[in-house]
Amino acid sequence: MWDAALIALGKFADPVHIGMLMAGVMAGTVIGILPGLGGIASVAILLPFIFKLDVHTAMILLIGSVAVVHTSDTITSVLIGTPGSAAAAATVLDGHPLAKQGQAGRALSAAFLSSLIGGLIGAVFLTLSLPIARPLVLLFGSPELLMLCVLGLSFAGFLTGSQPLKGAMSACLGLLLGSVGAAPTEAVYRYSFDQLYLLDGIPLVGVALGVFGIAEIIDLLAKGGQIAERIGLGGGWIQGMKDVMRHWGIVVRGSLIGVWAGILPGIGATAGSWMSYGHVVAMARDRERFGKGDIRGVIGPESANNSVEAGDLIPTLLFSVPGGAPAAILLGALFFYGIQPGPRMVQENLDLIFTIIWGFAFANAIGAGLCLLLSPALARLTWVPFAKMAPAIVVTIFIGAFQSSQHFGDLFALLALGFLGWLMKQLGWARAPFLVGFVLSKPTEQYLWLSISRYGAEWLWRPGVIVMGLLLLATIVWIVVGKLKGKQSLDEESTEGPPLLGKTSSIVFTFFILFVFAGALYEARSFPYLGAIFPVAATIPAIFMAVLQVVLDLRAPGVELAPEARNKTGTALSYFLSLVLYFLLIWLIGFAIATALFTFLFLYGWVKLRLSRSLIYTACLVGAAAFMGWMLGLYWPAGILGGW
């Protein structure tokens, strides 16, 4: 085995291979930074280029880009509070507050270092597990996988903040949103309202970008000014590295959680990074700072999301079953070369496996270094008045969201969820449980379905299930005790200053959510029995909680809103409307003209940039957007009034 590793290592002395690795890393880094574009986009962009390369070179190129996406996506998450890829949403929670406090340098260097270590641990684990991975994976049957998902869901309990009732409803809302589309076995299409778009469910990218990205952008715009005060970045970089050294335990545990999330089918990078975040909060003695800028909240998810990609490779290479979406494309590329991974892969293509592992490890190192070099410059972006950056960010987010299924529904979902996320943020509904519920909804339901239809009720008595059941019980007790003791777990930071929305808005919102749950339950009456379990299980408790919440809201003392807050709410809403307007323009006159118009009006009319600068900015942005669209193979539909 080891000589194969050395032979594969020798390949990296070839300048062509080094060049390809660098190209992959560059592409991955840029794609990671662009909000909403992650591993899938990076592999998809590079895929057309590989058809003329040999298999080793092609794999180096692809793996190079996949490996670094979760290193560089942190930059966007930390600096502008918008997830650089869906899996980086957990990093936003603590990373962005740190940036606002002028500690962007510290957050970024801690993130890069833990990403790097996570990636390397992943590579080592991947190597060591080659001989034993097959039996290890075969140990987990559907019931055990189900219990793992449920355990992951229970972690949402740690993320509910100081208003556990709202947090729990938020998780239920996520579960419900995740059940939109085909039920397992295509038995029924739920909540699709005859829209083809909804048959596949709502894409994760749109959910993550909306609930965290759009919500944050509206807030930053309403706040005005720049993201952070202009303080020297100075010693922050060293501080971040020291933080990682001090919390090395978190790094190791986070990486292992990531590897496992990758190995097990259906979990993925996003769920992995949230589980790692949840575990950090669960194990912390002092939880007051989480959500307000605790460096541990950056280290946890960052060490997990790189190692997920390493874990993903185990089922991909040894079972020919993709561990995640980027791995699925990688697998397709291997098919193209006539290599069908499987049990024989270790005997027949060991050198290729090691090329991939080495590529992954090197790319992680180069990527972290590259990000470290780029960051001081990028961190300066937080000093730029945010409104000036906003059009570029908004356009990129729209592209990122549209890329997931190239349907107007993507943009609609982005905006609707963006507004929902903004309301949740203002009204103290934790958004983390929402995303955890959403990402785990599909696999949990799938394994529940499989367990019941394979084993009936017997699945409950399998030893693995009992062990994990006890673990689950302990977790729940742990959460409840923590809440009773008043050990305040994280509160996602809301807007600085007095609340923007008062008692009435809060009651109206809760009523709206109650209405959604009740409607969903009513719809579920026509679903066949297995297809109904999940929606019913998510909505019934949520309805009780919502009623309770309404009662609590009614009894709470009214808060007098400062007149300033009303103004701010108005500003925020008008910014949101400008995004809606952009969406409508795309629909009416096509993407290119709409983008030009939106950017120009925003800069010249609103931000009051000089005419010449507005024009140059607009031209550059439209050009860049067209280039990105071309790279991603986007087909924007022509506007209904013509245009393109």
């Binding site: 076995t185 778009y197 397709g332």
Partner: protein, 366 residues
């Protein structure tokens, strides 16, 4: 102009070659340029990037570019999701009759039509098949099931099959179980055939099938280790549309052969009708490249000729054998009748199948 290399010794032949070439150039200048010269062909793939059909067309694409006169450029456009319907509709509605847009289709696109899904508003009868590539499927059992040979199937107890959905490719094995009257049930809801195979390996299920390429790479090693026993194939179609043995696994009997072995008579009945209608769409004519029916005849002809040339091209055959699954890349015109027949279903059988998936697998079709 490039000099023509000639190995001939006589200057006369060199002179002749030059003369021939100038004649050819003259002919081109007179307007006989190849139809696709300087043009771009857009290929609509109603599936996401790197799926089976995507890899299939991207693998043979470069060979088509080289073998179609005029060397057109191929561009690929994936329109994934929505059970393939958005991609199919894009082709159905937006294509002009110039042969510059072609479509790749697979079983996912045929089943909604056969099952009478109202959202599938496309009609294959208006299109012409250019290229066809079959896929095969092989069923195997675990030794723990007690089945050693196909003859044991009839008395086997509690066979468990893992699949994705009763209205996809899994329908063929599930229908086979009904046809052969086995004590077998489907546990559905797996994410892919690979996940179902993992469940087989860990003993959660004990009967399974894989498409032939996946079978060769992932199941044959299990057979060698004694962890799986091959049983039968779903078969392929011959020129007159009869189900015959699969050339990729010629030693294995087909489902109807197994029926005869177990029951001692030719298969018949509703499940047999269903099998005959759905098996070709699922396997025998699975991958098809289409052009609109009113495209110029030359557009279709160059594809047929390219396929003829490729069937003799050694490099093509070795480089693409894994992706083509060991089956030839066939001319669409030869199979046109078989294909159009494969997408026909009588109302009675359609009602029967819909009723069966509803009752047995709780699938709610619109």
């Amino acid at each position: 102009m490039k000099r023509i290399r000639s190995t001939a010794r006589w200057p006369v032949s060199r002179w002749l070659a030059g003369f021939g070439l100038s004649l050819a150039l003259a002919a081109q200048a007179l307007g006989a340029a190849p139809y696709y010269e300087g043009k771009t062909i857009e290929i609509i793939i109603p599936f996401p990037v790197a799926g089976g059909s995507d890899i299939w067309i991207r693998t043979i694409g470069p060979y088509l570019e080289r073998n179609i006169p005029g060397n057109p450029r191929l561009v690929y456009r994936n329109i994934g999701g929505g059970r393939g319907i958005p991609g199919m509709m894009e082709f159905a509605l937006k294509t002009k009759s110039d042969g510059l847009m072609v479509l790749v289709s697979s079983a996912t696109n045929y089943f909604p039509v056969l099952l009478g899904d109202k959202a599938a508003k496309y009609d294959f009868r208006q299109w012409k098949p250019l290229l066809v590539n079959p896929v095969g499927g092989v069923m195997y059992v675990s030794p723990a099931s007690g089945v050693k040979r196909v003859e044991d199937l009839a008395k086997a107890k509690d066979l468990i099959y893992g699949g994705i959905s009763a209205i996809g490719l899994d329908m063929i094995p599930l229908i086979s179980f009904e046809l052969l009257e086995l004590d077998a049930r489907g546990v559905l809801g797996f994410k892919g055939r690979g996940d179902a195979r993992i469940a087989f390996e860990r003993g959660e299920t004990n009967i399974d099938y894989q498409t032939t390429p996946a079978y060769n790479a992932t199941v044959v090693p299990l057979i060698k280790e004694g962890k799986a026993i091959p049983l039968m194939s779903f078969g392929q179609l011959d020129d007159s549309g009869n189900i015959v043995r699969d050339p990729a696994v010629p030693d294995l009997p087909t489902v109807p052969e197994v029926y005869e072995k177990i029951k001692g008579r030719k298969p018949s009945g509703k499940f047999w009708d269903t099998y005959k209608i759905f098996m070709p769409s699922a396997f025998a004519v699975q991958k098809i490249l289409w052009v609109k029916g009113d495209a110029p005849a030359e557009a279709a002809r160059v594809f047929y000729e390219a396929s003829d040339r490729l069937s003799k091209d050694k490099e093509f055959l070795t480089k693409t054998s894994k992706v083509l699954g060991g089956y030839p890349l066939q001319r669409g015109d030869r199979l046109e009748k078989t294909i159009q027949q494969a997408f026909q279903i009588d109302q009675e059988t359609q009602r029967f199948v819909r009723e069966w998936v509803r009752k047995k697998y709780h699938v709610k079709l619109d």
